[in-house]
């Protein structure tokens, strides 16, 4: 049934007449534009959107917007894009057609694009051929004698993470194979059949009983499964850690793959003067792809360190990722913090209260007999459940072993 009354010409003005297929065309075109703006959509959704419009009718613009949004959007972050695009698209039929024409490749006379956010604007423009603007990336040179001092200035620099060279790739893979990261396990709430455990697996037991004429020969049990603890990785990408960041991220990515395989949370952030969320990048299975995305995301590469402020951001924006207070936090940092020690202490206390363990891997230590006396380092040392100082981590190998070692404690 359709709610578009046949004798209501006014209702056709917004989206055209459903029976003549204009509505369908417009919805399809709108869906295409949305997809170009990065909203994940498939053909089934668009078909559903048309059904939805038939249900609510097209008399009221607000209803059309709400109906399309309910069907076409499935993430909170897409809502703003949807609304702007909807406004641009359905402001009036003429503009919609102009935009439609504009979306076709080779369209002439580009109408003035509405002042919208870049994603929306791009979606309304003819598609660019892929690979148009390759980024040139300078080689990352590893200079082992660079002075290790944290910059006081807020320096914003995009991290240029090259893809792994063949030798680096084999190195990372070999390390992952040789040095097993033992992510501690806990007993999960889920169970599996077994022979020990407090609860009886009645289904299994009964199956056995049915085969022996109702006689219970053995009691099968429900055993709690084991699963690794959720991981939260906090990696320092400030100036003093600059040289390690790329390979360290590559190693962590490859080494915690098994955790990801078991569908346990793995949240990854880098920090320098600000906090960058790399969780999505780490979800990519390919390490090169991860490095590329990470390089694009990190904006404070090789700058100063403000761990306290970064942790405050973590608390304010991402606190809900620390579900159940059983996350294992691994901080890889030299502890040369330039922020306020009080802030750092407060944030670390908060983090500790909301996680299971807080581990700190400190790779600064080039000197034997180092004690964490720098301001930030002292605070970190007090707050952490475990600290491991790795002397001389000129090789990724030592760093990897350090991480494995501290996870065992």
């Amino acid at each position: 049934m359709t709610r578009v009354a046949p004798d209501a010409p006014a209702r056709r003005s917004l989206l055209g007449d459903a029976r003549r297929g204009k509505l369908a065309d417009n919805v399809v075109a709108f869906g295409r534009a949305l997809r170009r703006a990065g909203v994940p959509l498939d053909a089934a959704r668009i078909a559903l959107a048309q059904q939805a419009l038939q249900c609510v009718g097209v008399e009221r613009r607000g209803d059309v917007a709400a109906a399309l949004e309910a069907v076409l959007v499935s993430r909170e972050q897409d809502r703003a894009v949807f609304r702007e695009l909807f406004d641009a698209f359905f402001r009036d039929p003429d503009l919609a057609h102009k935009l439609l024409a504009q979306m076709l490749p080779r369209a002439e006379a580009p109408a003035a694009p509405p002042p919208q956010r870049p994603r929306v604007r791009e979606a309304l423009q003819p598609p660019r051929p892929p690979g148009a603007a390759p980024r040139t990336q300078p080689d990352q040179s590893v200079d082992l004698d660079a002075a290790m001092t944290a910059s006081e200035r807020v320096r914003l620099r995009q991290a240029d993470f090259n893809q792994l060279s063949a030798s680096e790739y084999t190195l990372v893979e070999r390390l992952v194979r040789d040095i097993a990261l033992a992510v501690p396990e806990v007993r999960a709430r889920r169970t599996r059949a077994g022979w020990r455990g407090p609860r009886v697996h009645w289904g299994r037991t009964l199956q056995g009983a049915a085969h022996s004429g109702g006689e219970v020969m053995a009691l099968h049990r429900l055993q709690r499964r084991r699963q690794p603890l959720p991981l939260l990785l906090l990696v320092d990408v400030s100036g003093s850690m600059e040289r390690y960041a790329r390979l360290l991220l590559a190693f962590l990515h490859a080494a915690t793959r098994q955790v990801q395989g078991q569908r346990v949370r793995r949240d990854v952030f880098t920090f320098g003067t600000r906090l960058t969320d790399l969780t999505a990048a780490f979800r990519l299975s390919d390490t090169d792809a991860m490095l590329q995305q990470a390089g694009g995301a990190i904006e404070d590469f090789a700058g100063g360190t403000r761990l306290g402020d970064s942790l405050a951001t973590l608390r304010q924006r991402h606190a809900r990722r620390l579900v159940g207070r059983r996350t294992l936090v691994l901080i890889v940092s030299d502890g040369l913090d330039t922020g306020e020690p009080q802030v750092l202490a407060r944030e670390l206390t908060w983090l500790r209260r909301h996680t299971r363990r807080l581990l700190w891997l400190n790779p600064l230590l080039r000197f034997d007999g180092y004690t964490p006396s720098a301001r930030g380092a002292a605070v970190l040392h007090r707050a952490c459940d475990g600290m491991l100082a790795v002397h001389n981590i000129s090789r990724l190998h030592d760093l990897a072993r350090g991480i494995a070692q501290i996870l065992k404690t």
Partner: protein
């Protein structure tokens, strides 16, 4: 898609306006966008995924809908480690064992098995109950689905797509009438895209000031009009730009209603910084947030003009 059934004339299903009005009679003030999403979920027979901050009325919506539609509300509270036997069905093993004992010596093993696996011995959990609910169907609330783990989500995917489950010993159970399914999520993690694709999506925002006032008035009728007005205005301001940055978690609707009740209990006629501070524990549940609610901040937020 099955043909969409024509609704009977006076039901809340007739139009979006009728749905809004019906929800209002049970004390749920939905805005038009939300009502449109619900309306579509009913018409297109799709599950509705609600996301939003805690305390914006996600669970309440399902309750209100059950009341309005005259359907049974079945609630599945998700938690870490939720398994199929707690969500779908489980055999009543103790009874089965008794049966086997009683039938001992009679009949063959196959007969015993057949007798034991009767619907009679089945313990129905919410998801199965929702399929078997009679004619108008049930309202199925799958609460905090983000707390369950991903294998459960994969199972849910199948369930929401077909509305049928197969019980190996009994065969396939199909929905008598498609339940109206409402999923809620607090976004502790992103849900699987495939699950989202099955659902209509609505992000529930904090209500605008007028709607919150209406909710407070409806829920706390004994509150003086001026006080309700102040409560709605104050909470609304705490959630908006300059103030929201001070707090980890802004108070939800549930909190403002509770707060209004608390103020009534204290015989407060108007808000002043002292009263606000002494009842801050109703609005905020974190020590840092309570501490952030300083006297200056309260005075500023209470001042009539400025936002």
């Amino acid at each position: 898609m099955p043909p969409i059934p024509a609704p009977a004339a006076p039901t809340p299903l007739a139009s979006i306006d009728a749905l809004i009005a019906a929800l209002q009679t049970v004390g749920y003030y939905a805005d038009r966008r939300l009502a449109t999403a619900v309306f579509l979920a009913l018409r297109l027979q799709r599950p509705l995924l609600l996301e939003g901050e805690p305390g914006v009325g996600k669970t309440e919506l399902a309750k209100a809908l059950a009341q309005v539609l005259g359907r049974e509300l079945l609630r599945l509270q998700c938690y870490d480690g939720l398994e199929q036997r707690e969500a779908l069905y489980e055999w009543n093993y103790a009874a089965q064992l008794l049966h086997l004992r009683a039938a001992e010596g009679r009949g063959t093993v196959e007969e015993a098995e057949r007798e034991v696996y009767q619907p009679h011995y089945l313990i129905r959990r919410p998801l199965l109950q929702a399929l078997q609910a009679p004619a108008p169907g049930a309202v199925l609330l799958i609460d905090e689905v983000d707390r369950a783990d991903e294998p459960f989500e994969a199972f849910l995917l199948e369930y929401l797509g077909e509305y049928q489950v197969s019980i190996p010993e009994l065969g396939t159970v199909r929905a008598v009438a498609t339940p109206l399914t409402v999923l809620t999520s607090n976004r502790t993690r992103e849900l699987n895209d495939a699950v989202k694709r099955r659902c209509l999506y609505h992000w529930l925002d904090y209500p605008e000031r007028e709607r919150e006032l209406a909710i407070v008035r409806a829920r706390v009728p004994e509150a003086p009009a001026a006080l309700a007005e102040q409560v709605a205005g104050f909470v609304h301001r705490l959630r908006s730009a300059p103030y929201a940055g001070h707090f980890q978690r802004a108070p939800g609707i549930a909190e403002s209603v509770e707060w209004a009740k608390a103020l009534v209990a204290l015989d407060a006629l108007l808000l002043d910084p002292e009263v606000v501070q002494s009842t801050a524990g109703v609005l905020f549940k974190q020590r840092e947030d309570v501490a952030a609610l300083s006297t200056e901040l309260i005075t500023e937020a209470l001042s009539p003009e400025g936002a």
